[in-house]
């Protein structure tokens, strides 16, 4: 059994919304992250999946300690970050690195690549000769020529820049790297190069990854476990293959259905209604109920909590355990229920 590298415990982050120019008055909270718990083992890739605004990047920022949680804690190798001393936080920051989405914005255009990669080493007090050696190692590890050191970021293409970002994250030999949409800004023919590189590095060095993405196909390819987020909450948590082959939560199912190529039948044919509501006024009860075709009266009132299914994964949905058996996952649901629940005109082609 691998040891747990990082454990997130009941993490909550609210952003207050204020009005007024001089005397601020809090009129509400954006519940960006609302009671989230998960753990990541050594050498494992854990993916946080969800649509924009669901809070996945906020979770990443909380783990990176770029934000402080409203409540809850992050344990790194068993030690609480909330109680950590300055020196311990410094040590922690070496062990957890990030690769960001936009390879153009993440690299300082005025710094040479060698300097960009060695800056973390400089911060942590490495000598000049060590830095030189480690930069060369990192460049080699990501498949860039050693001469890149003296070049500037603009001389590289998107895929190469993302490699520079990975090289920078590697130099301090972190235990965990957070990958925030690492390939979504890259050209299609380049993506597989970067994904393969990340997988190889993980195998060679036993690094853990937290992969943040909305692209389920690359998540299935990369990860061991998946957490599906919706409006700040985890709605399903479990083995990656299990969730992709047979999603349990209706929202996870609709993500899988939306990402299934047209020539295949999704494991659960589920129509999707409407769009993600604003995180400022999250729906009562289950946050997904306004978009869920299976919503029941209790879903509007009671927030379901994550409970374990017999197959081991965790799901937050009132369909379990009593109602799921009566659902036909391949039924054709009427088109009138698509898009907007309260549509009166019945058909999809009624207008013309």
């Amino acid at each position: 059994m691998n040891s747990t590298v990082i454990e997130v415990q009941n993490l909550v982050k609210y952003f207050p919304v204020r009005t007024g120019v001089i005397v601020g008055r809090t009129i509400g909270n954006v519940k960006a992250v609302d009671d989230i718990s998960f753990g990541v083992s050594q050498g494992e890739t854990f993916a946080l999946v969800g649509e924009s605004g669901c809070g996945k990047t906020t979770v990443a920022n909380l783990i990176l300690k770029l934000l402080d949680p409203t409540s809850g804690d992050v344990l790194f190798q068993g030690k609480s970050l909330n109680k950590a001393s300055g020196a311990e936080i410094r040590q922690y920051r070496r062990s957890v690195q990030a690769v960001l989405q936009d390879p153009y914005g993440a690299l300082n255009p005025r710094m040479r690549v060698g300097h960009i990669i060695s800056e973390p080493l400089e911060v942590h007090g490495y000598s000049r000769s060590d830095r030189k050696r480690l930069v060369q190692d990192a460049l080699r590890a990501v498949g860039l020529p050693e001469t890149s050191e003296t070049q500037f970021p603009h001389e590289f293409s998107g895929g190469q820049r993302q490699r520079i970002g990975v090289a920078r994250a590697l130099t301090l030999e972190p235990a965990l790297i957070i990958l925030d949409e690492p390939v979504s800004n890259l050209d299609v023919s380049i993506r597989s190069q970067v994904l393969n590189l990340l997988k190889d590095l993980q195998e060679q060095r036993g690094i853990s990854f937290i992969l943040i993405s909305h692209d389920l196909a690359s998540v299935e390819h990369m990860s061991h476990r998946i957490g599906v987020m919706y409006l700040g909450k985890l709605v399903e948590l479990g083995d990656a293959q299990q969730i992709c082959d047979d999603p349990a939560h209706p929202y996870a199912a609709s993500l899988v259905a939306a990402s299934t190529p047209p020539n295949r039948t999704p494991p659960w044919q589920i129509p999707i209604i409407g769009e993600v509501p604003s995180a400022m006024d999250t729906p009562s009860g289950c946050p997904f109920h306004p978009r869920c075709v299976y919503a029941m009266p209790t879903c509007k009132e009671v927030t379901p909590s994550l409970t374990q299914l017999p197959d081991g994964r965790m799901v937050a949905c009132h369909l379990y355990p009593d109602h799921i058996g009566s659902i036909d996952k391949h039924a054709e649901l009427p088109a009138a229920r698509l898009f907007e629940q309260e549509t009166e005109d019945g058909g999809t082609e009624a207008a013309l």
Partner: protein, 337 residues
């Protein structure tokens, strides 16, 4: 190469050997370098390719809306039998918006923030169909209902910032289809949308096509989403169409090494692959295209012929399927029109 049946009554658009170049301070950029395709009425053609492969410039050439420095230097564009390149600017104004609609990638940029969406959807109806504003507003409500926006009577007074991303994209589609165009050009309309919204939008586009009978050119970099929507695919690389044909032929029987590699390189949900195939190198910049076949520096099967002379000709693979690759020379006939 483009026409299988010339001037057929069903043909709406023919693009023949189109070349669009840009004069820049750094030299000549050959953005579109000999593109051929055609489109029947009511048909959907997917233009698939990476950034800089020439798919957007091809479509802007059809509308003659090229950015500064761009010039169509060769070829023909026939829209409903009319030669676009010989049409006066005044007639082009009548064509754009009315007979050819366009949907852009970023709906926030496509809609004007200071006008209500009702005004913006009604405007083309007033301009192109000569309706009064009052009647155009009534038409707008119908259009919004068609793109499945709730309470259209209320929504017409909303401003773009008050709508969600998916609703904005649907409203700008409503504005484009208002004047009943024969052709709708959709340039990456789903890229800015969330996954679940994306699928809804593609379904909507299909419904709209069924209802109006318009032809669609759908530009995308994501070959995995075109399957459901498109009848035909044109795969772009380095300013040319490297493979062209019916969707099923191209997806199930890819014949150009680039198409093959692209389909292998992408992770597909439900198909566990241990390791993704990679395409070495990077897509070329249009200002610095490799000579001859633009794909040869990245192609594992490149031969000497691939590196010399002009880009390879199209070889006819049967069933309206063709690809521009010398590897096909020994088994297939060169395609000519």
């Amino acid at each position: 190469m483009a026409g299988y049946q010339h001037n057929d009554a069903g043909t709406l658009l023919e693009v023949r050997d189109l070349k669009t170049h840009f004069m820049t301070r750094r030299g000549l950029v050959r953005a579109v370098n000999g593109v051929n395709f055609e489109l029947e009425r009511g048909e959907t053609l997917g233009l698939v390719g990476e950034s800089g492969s020439g798919k957007t410039i091809t479509c802007l050439s059809i509308l003659r809306l090229l950015p500064r420095g761009g010039q169509i230097v060769g070829g023909e564009i026939l829209f409903d039998g009319q030669d676009i390149l010989k049409t006066s600017e005044r007639e082009m104004g009548l064509l754009r918006g009315k007979r050819v609609g366009m949907i852009l990638q970023n709906s926030m940029a496509a809609l004007d923030p200071v006008f209500s969406i009702g005004t913006q959807i009604a405007e083309p109806l007033v301009v192109h169909q000569g309706l009064s504003w009052k009647r155009a507003m009534a038409g707008t409500i119908e259009l919004l209902r068609m793109v499945k926006i709730n309470d259209p009577e209320v929504r017409i007074r909303n401003y773009p910032h008050e709508l969600s991303g998916g609703m904005r994209q649907r409203s700008s589609s409503a504005a484009s289809i208002g004047p009943h165009p024969d052709l709708l050009i959709a340039d990456e309309p789903t890229t800015a949308l969330d996954v679940t919204t994306q699928r809804q939008y593609l379904d909507l586009l299909k419904d709209l096509q069924k209802a109006t009978g318009m032809a669609i050119i759908f530009i995308t970099h994501d070959i995995s989403i075109v399957g459901n929507l498109c009848d035909k695919l044109a795969v772009f690389y380095g300013g040319i169409v490297v493979e062209y044909g019916p969707k099923d032929q191209v997806l199930n029987n890819p014949s150009h090494p680039y198409t093959k590699a692209l389909l292998q390189a992408l992770p597909v949900l439900g198909e566990k692959r241990d390791r993704l195939q990679t395409i070495p190198g990077e897509p070329p910049h249009a200002g610095n295209l490799p000579p001859a076949c633009p794909f040869h520096p990245r192609c594992e099967q490149a031969m000497d012929t691939c590196k010399e002379g002009d880009a390879p000709p199209a070889f006819y693979l049967g069933n309206s399927h063709q690809a521009r690759c010398w590897l096909l020379e020994k088994d297939y006939e060169q395609y000519s029109h």
